[in-house]
Amino acid sequence: MFEELNDLYQQVIMDHSRKPHNFGILAGANCCARGKNPLCGDQIQIFLSTEDHVVKDLRWEGDGCAIFKASSSLMTDAIKGKTTAEVKVLFEEFHSLITTGKMSEDHHLGKLAVLSGVNRFPARVKCALLGWRAAMSALEGNPQSVTTE
């Protein structure tokens, strides 16, 4: 019935959305932030512990759609262990992927590439970005609420 959606809602995405990784609260986090998607009202809270500009550990909490949950879960897997600089590059690659569908030849997206289908669903781009925006604002030391706009 939903062939056109097999691409957007791939098995990996369904799995992550049902059993999100790094879900919960991180005691001893040294930076954290909240984010909100104004279109639906869904919210995220993210906790990171960094050392020497490296993301040592992180957790997130929040409820929302499958795309949001999968994207946030995959994001936390992807940035754990990375430096702030690497995370920034990755975010830019990811942002370009889900808004245009394009990846550069030397991208570092790895598993994140499963979200490439989002670009054909403009109304859902904000879902895929919500977790990322929160993470970026936490890393920039900006704990106040960000929105996906």
């Binding site: 939903f2 056109e4 959606l5 009202g41 499958a66 795309i67 949001f68 109304a123 859902r124």
Partner: protein, 410 residues
């Protein structure tokens, strides 16, 4: 009535319904957001612009005369549509939102004082909350909210007399909830309020094109409606106000047409309703609203109301049968919309999936965030019907929802 076609016969009048979306025939179930438009309304717009287009009032030439007459005829038509006593009781606005803002400003700024209470209900649309919050902030008044019972979405009237205190200046409430499908007992509540000397405003955005509407029977002082939800164009709506109230109110917006005399430093206002209509009005859409009202009365608003109840209840029952679903709104005497959450599947995933099958639903807070928070959800999915929707479309919706449940492994 026997000579009128079955309601499904009117479907052909709506060009937008006859298209495919993502390869599937469109099943448009977002009527609470805006209805589709019959060809006669679209034609009314084209005809005006092709034949009679001119600015209204103060014009003597032929086109201006035609436009002015057609414009003012719509006012008469609108008065008849809601059984207002006087034509002057109709003020044209962009829609329900502007109408409520007009009252909160033109009436509220003079009538509401510090310590006064503005009484709303927990199921109000943002458009019937935020203007009052802004008035409360300006004046020092307070808001109070008649509670909603819970998922079944009825007004809890058990303690209504405690709410209707002598401090309450206005009771503003929705006739039909766009988030729950509840039909509120507005006549009863307006009568109670009136006995206390409380002004009443009914938000008829969801009821205006869905059932007969009689401001005298309801007994309200103000009533607001939007043309675009009742087969009319976007950009036009009406505020009804009791004549004697309107006459005592200050104007809100200033400009051309709302004045009788302007000097450099002060002005005198025009008569009601013009006092409240500053600047060139939305002439073409007003005239097309006339066509929409005629069309709805040809279809028959009693029939539309009956169809709403029938299709709304049918959809509600079918959804209940599906299982693994949380349903909002009353079990009985409901209007033509259903609001629900499939277990473990987000409202927006549901809408995206449905859209791929050509089914247009709405997901979100439906501009009722306070209600959503009270119900402990951030959003719901909503299917809202109009007289051109059929039970076959409901069946198709149910199939699609079952497919979604299967996809999500529920």
């Amino acid at each position: 009535m026997s000579t009128r076609p079955a309601l499904s016969g009117y479907r052909k009048d709506f060009p937008a319904l006859h298209q495919k979306v993502h390869g599937h025939p469109l099943v448009y179930l977002d009527n609470a957001a805006t209805s589709q438009k019959p060809q006669v309304v679209i034609d009314a717009l084209s005809n005006f612009y092709q034949c009679d287009n001119a600015n209204v009032h103060r014009g003597i030439h032929e086109l201006s005369h035609r436009a002015s007459v057609a414009f003012e005829k719509t006012r008469e038509r609108a008065a008849r549509f809601i059984n207002a006593q006087h034509t002057e009781e109709i003020i044209f606005t962009r829609g329900t939102t502007e109408a409520i803002n007009l009252v909160a400003n033109a009436w509220g700024s003079d009538a509401v004082k510090e310590g006064d209470v503005i009484l709303l209900t927990e199921m109000e649309h943002h458009s019937n909350i935020v203007p009052w919050q802004m008035l409360a902030r300006r004046t020092g008044a307070k808001l109070a909210f008649i509670p909603v019972t819970g998922d079944e979405g009825l007004l809890d009237l058990s303690r209504i007399d405690e709410f209707l205190t002598s401090k309450v200046r206005i009771l503003a409430l929705t006739h039909i909830s766009n988030a729950l499908g509840t039909i509120n007992p507005v006549s009863e509540l307006c009568a109670k309020a009136r006995r206390m000397g409380i002004i009443t405003l009914v938000d008829a955005a969801q009821s205006a094109g869905h059932s007969p509407l009689d401001v005298r029977e309801i007994g309200c002082d103000f009533l607001a409606l939007s043309g675009h939800k009742m087969c009319g164009p976007t950009g036009i709506g009406c505020l009804y106000g009791r004549l004697d109230l309107l006459e005592t109110m200050s104007p809100w917006q200033g400009g051309g047409d709302m004045i009788s005399n302007v000097d450099f430093h002060e002005s005198q206002w025009n008569k009601v309703p013009h006092k409240f209509e500053a600047g060139t009005p939305n002439i073409a859409d007003t005239i097309a609203l006339h066509a929409a009202m005629d069309y709805l009365d040809e279809v028959g608003r009693e029939r539309i109301a009956a169809h709403d109840t029938e299709i709304g209840s049918y959809a509600f029952e079918q959804l209940k049968r599906m299982g693994k679903i949380r349903l909002f709104g009353p079990r009985e005497e409901r209007s033509g919309l259903v609001s629900f959450l499939l277990h473990n599947i987000h409202a927006h995933d549901v809408v995206t999936f449905a859209d791929q099958q050509g089914v247009a639903l709405r997901g979100g807070h439906h501009c009722t965030q306070p209600l959503m928070k009270k119900l402990g959800v951030s959003s719901t999915s909503r299917a809202s019907f109009y007289f051109y929707n059929t039970t076959e479309e409901v069946d198709h919706l149910i199939d699609v929802l079952r497919g979604i449940q299967k996809f999500f492994g529920e």
